[in-house]
């Protein structure tokens, strides 16, 4: 009774107890529809009572690590504490029970939120204007590159290539390819920065944009950013800022001031939209002045009569999704920015940077640190030393789970061997960080004294290491009716079952 069954393997009386009874007979209703359009076999949804549904998903929830229950230093993901009150605000009727096609006059509250949020993000990033339409980071990248393309076309330029650093996030090259560009990688130098010489060698008039992040994927600030921007601008290219991980910059410095032309932000990282096991997020895009006409439609503006949509922008790239973006996510970030205010936002970044540097300092003796110096909100260590003892980054990651700590991001960026990318975020306490250090040092000792224990980890999770190869070889991507025979009764820990 541990909830290991699939929902399809449970049976009880289905009730759908919120549905009232029909007023007319089914037969009379069915006459409204021609037979040709009708479903012939009922969809084989499971039949379950409300209790069984509640119990099923409650038990599933118990099989997740989460920020609410665990330290979650997953690099590049900013798994910070997202104030619960934001969830409450987003789910009030006034914000969740409103329709996107309501008259503008009937949604002035929502439009105010969107309008002011555009302004908040412009101020924080130093850009001229923002769109809140993109649904996620990758969607923002698509938006940004479409804007870049439309801009270049408006200038009569023919652009065919997009540059990305070799350490870039996969969505950068994937988006560039989606937009029809050739993707060219720029090397990282020995200090962990964009290799300026390599960049220069690849810059020419065919370059539509250089997509980069700052701090970069290694958590380091690109000191040469002003020069990089100048170099790209010199060939009439645009500098694109992947601001998915902006947690180090709030009130510290601004992409707009660095020379970036287009910026996307992940509200689901920096701005307190919880990650939700994989979304929904929100990926607003900001641009400098010259690019404003190309923003997606509609934009939200304010005049004497109030807030309203601006739909006729002839140069706009068009629509990226229905309606105006993930309003339910945006309002969380809006409330978050209001709650923190200017000092609070600066405190976020200060503490994110402090926590990361503290961890880096405390771990640097036990683990290899490929790139020294101060980091921003995250950093990368390498388990090459432990690997020599037979314990890889993956093993350390799995072993951490036994201590109730989620694993860091491992094997990313691809440019660092046995990479472990650690992002503590600003909301964790020193006590938690110290405990995490103790645990990592303990695992490091285990890699000497008892490597088998690390290799066999995790020992305490609902399942042990998963056979991913089998998953890919014998694809089982959905339940189909007559399935495995009923499972025997089993105690939670199989070691103790009959």
């Amino acid at each position: 009774m541990s909830g290991a069954e699939l929902i399809f393997e449970k049976h009880s009386q289905n009730r759908a107890s919120w549905l009232p009874e029909l007023k007319s007979s089914e037969e009379s209703l069915m006459k409204k529809l021609p037979a040709s359009v009708l479903r012939r076999h009922a969809a084989e949804l499971p039949s379950l009572s409300e209790l069984d549904v509640v119990r099923h998903f409650t038990n599933l929830s118990h099989k997740n690590f989460s920020v609410d229950a665990n330290f979650y230093p997953l690099g590049s993901c900013t798994m910070k504490y997202n104030p619960k009150v934001l969830d409450a605000i987003a789910s009030t009727s006034a914000f969740s029970q409103i329709h996107p096609y309501a008259e503008e006059a009937d949604a002035q509250g929502a439009l105010k939120v969107l309008y002011e949020m555009q302004g908040f993000l412009s101020e924080i990033t130093g850009m001229a204007e923002f769109t809140l339409q993109p649904a996620a980071g990758a969607h923002g990248e698509l938006c940004g590159l479409l804007i870049a393309g439309a801009y270049h076309r408006s200038k009569g330029r023919k652009k065919t290539r997009v540059l990305v650093p070799d350490s870039s996030h996969g969505t950068n090259p994937a988006t560039a390819a989606l937009c029809g560009y050739e993707v060219v990688q720029v090397r990282t130098d020995e200090k962990g920065h964009v290799d300026l010489a390599d960049l220069r060698s690849k810059l020419d008039s065919s370059v539509a944009a250089f997509m980069m992040t700052n701090p970069n994927t290694l958590g380091l600030f690109e000191e040469d950013i002003l020069e990089i921007a100048r170099a790209v601008h010199a060939v009439e290219g645009l500098v694109y800022y992947d601001g998915a991980n902006m947690n180090a910059l709030l009130g510290v410095c601004r992409p707009g001031d660095m020379g970036f032309d287009i910026v996307h932000i992940n509200l689901h990282k920096t701005f307190a939209v919880p990650h939700g096991s994989g979304g929904p997020g929100s990926g607003p895009v900001g641009v400098r002045k010259e690019l404003v006409p190309f923003l997606p439609s509609p934009r939200i503006v304010r005049d004497e009569e109030g807030y309203r949509f601006l739909k006729n922008s002839p140069q706009s790239i068009g629509k990226l999704r229905s309606f105006y973006g993930n309003f339910g996510a945006v309002i969380r970030s809006y409330a978050y920015i209001k709650a923190l205010g200017r000092e609070g936002l600066r405190a976020v970044s200060e503490n994110a940077i402090l926590n990361a540097n503290y961890l880096k300092a405390r771990l640097k003796d036990a683990f290899d640190v490929p790139f020294g110096g101060f980091c921003m909100h995250e950093f990368v260590v390498s388990a090459v030393r432990q690997k020599k003892r037979g314990v890889k980054a993956l093993d350390i990651a799995k072993r951490l789970l036994d201590f109730g700590v989620h694993a860091p991001t491992v094997y990313f960026p691809l440019t660092v061997e046995e990479a472990m990318m650690i992002e503590p975020t600003e909301t964790e306490s020193r006590q938690t960080l110290d405990r995490f250090v103790e645990i990592l040092l303990a695992i490091d000792r285990e890699s000497v004294e008892d490597p088998a224990k690390v290799l066999a980890a995790p020992h305490t999770t609902p399942v042990a290491r998963i056979d991913e190869v089998l998953a890919a070889r014998q694809l089982n991507l959905r339940y189909r009716k007559p399935q495995a025979p009923p499972k025997p009764v089993e105690a939670k820990d199989p070691a103790y079952s009959r």
Binding site: L45, C77, A94, E103, G109, E223, L226, R321, E426, R430
Partner: protein
């Protein structure tokens, strides 16, 4: 309001452990010129003040508790049983990341697997991914897939497909050497003859929406057959609630079926977040965009779930990925999985019948009003269009006075349709509010 956990004393000690005299020492690499600015934002608010201020802002919205919503057009005021949010909003689902670490994410992974299975049952398709952003972007990705899979460049789209979906597809396809051809309609549904004429060896796919934007039912099997005859793929875009009664896309030969998932347990939320579902038939499996969870075993042989077929994805394949999508709309899909589990086989049909019943009751009632005419006499599910011969501004005012939201003016999307309105009617509508709607029209 701040959510920092370090105390001032912690900070002092941590700086000492790092070996810098002050925090600014950590920023030494940032050019000084970049650090000289003041954030022009207001000061923070306490939770008391924040909640009060946002409640004030919210008062400027007219919402479904106070107003009866007859607006649809892609998202609908369905009832969301309280259990859905109660379960989906558990911290273990809300505050976990995409389930890359399988052993630490079995809850999410199993629920995605179940979501995929439920969506396959609903649509009668072979495979589903873990979700897309919304219906419109799912349809755009479907078109991309069709172009990639077929090596052809044209997409045929009836004008009866949701206008915003067509706009989004246009944006997505704007960088490709692709062409979108609009197929005209006859009396509110796709002109099949025109479609057949437009077909040819360069057509990657034909799209059909069921019900279409006007709420009318298309002859999907006919459209699909025509597409297949020309060697094109058929993409169905369907309303999931309608599938309680209507033939599922898998049964009329859709190669790809997508749709807006909002009706399945997600609040309308001013248009987002919701999710798009995305399903394919077997031959297209390895071209699916986005995440997929699979069932496998752990090393002790116990059932286990894991993200699989990742070689399609951007984090492995980078510029060769099938899509750039990364974060999807997992929590919305979880809500749908919970909703469908609660609804069950019997409930799904009942829900569809209730929508059908309420919509037809509204249709009948409103047509009794002088000057109100049907836009088309073809069959519909839970949404229909009317021509209302009244001054639009006066009508709007009367509706608002009677605490009604909607119906939606068609001229916003089809300027040629004068006095046309789209009326959406879900299980949430009552005889009382229908009477209010009718009176509001009659009063003008």
């Amino acid at each position: 309001m701040q959510y920092i956990s370090n105390t001032d004393e912690d900070r002092r000690q941590m700086l000492a452990a790092i070996g810098v005299p002050s925090f600014d020492g950590l920023l030494e690499k940032i050019p000084a010129s970049l650090r000289k600015f003041e954030l022009g934002l207001p000061a923070g608010l306490s939770e008391i003040d924040l909640v009060r201020e946002l409640a004030d802002t919210g008062r400027a919205n007219r919402h479904f508790i106070d107003y009866a919503c007859y607006l649809g057009g892609g998202v609908y005021d369905h009832f969301v049983p309280y259990v859905v949010g109660h379960l989906a909003m558990r911290g273990e689902f809300v505050t976990s990341y995409t389930p890359y670490q399988g052993e630490a994410s079995q809850g999410t992974l199993q629920s995605i697997y179940e979501y995929q299975s439920l969506i396959c049952e609903l649509t009668a398709m072979d495979f589903s991914n873990a979700s897309m952003y919304d219906g419109a972007s799912a349809l755009a990705e479907a078109a991309l897939l069709a172009i990639r899979a077929s090596g052809r460049r044209k997409i045929l789209v009836p004008s009866t497909v949701h206008p915003e979906y067509r706009l989004v597809m246009k944006t997505y396809l704007s960088c490709l050497d692709a062409e979108i051809v609009e197929i005209p309609s006859r009396d509110g549904t796709t002109d099949a003859a025109a479609l057949k004429q437009a077909l040819g060896p360069d057509v990657a796919a034909v799209i059909g929406q069921q019900p279409n934007f006007f709420g009318l039912l298309e002859e999907m099997p006919e459209l699909a057959a025509a597409a297949h005859q020309a060697g094109s793929l058929f993409i169905a875009c369907v309303n999931p609630v309608s599938l309680g009664l209507l033939q599922p896309p898998g049964e009329y030969g859709a190669d790809i079926a997508v749709g807006e998932g909002q009706p399945l347990g997600n609040p309308v939320s001013y248009g987002g977040p919701h999710f798009g579902f995305f399903t394919v038939k077997e031959p297209l499996l390895r071209k699916l965009p986005g995440r997929i969870a699979g069932l496998t075993v752990d090393k002790t042989g116990r059932r286990a779930f894991v993200l699989t077929l990742q070689a399609r994805e951007q984090h492995i394949r980078r510029e060769k990925a099938t899509s750039n999508i990364c974060t999807n709309h997992s929590l919305c899909a979880l809500k749908a999985a919970i909703y469908l589990s609660l609804l069950g086989k019997e409930g799904l049909r009942k829900l569809a019948l209730l929508n059908l019943e309420n919509a037809h009751a509204a249709y009948d009632r409103l047509l009794r009003i002088p000057g109100v005419k049907p836009f088309s006499k073809k069959p519909f599910f839970n949404e229909f269009a009317l021509l209302i011969d009244r001054d639009p501004e006066l009508l709007k005012e009367s509706l608002r006075r009677n605490l009604i939201l909607g119906p939606l003016a068609l001229s916003d999307f089809y300027p040629e349709v004068r006095n046309g309105y789209l009326v959406a009617v879900t299980e949430n509508r009552t005889p009382d509010d229908l009477e209010r709607l009718a009176k509001a029209i009659e009063a003008v």
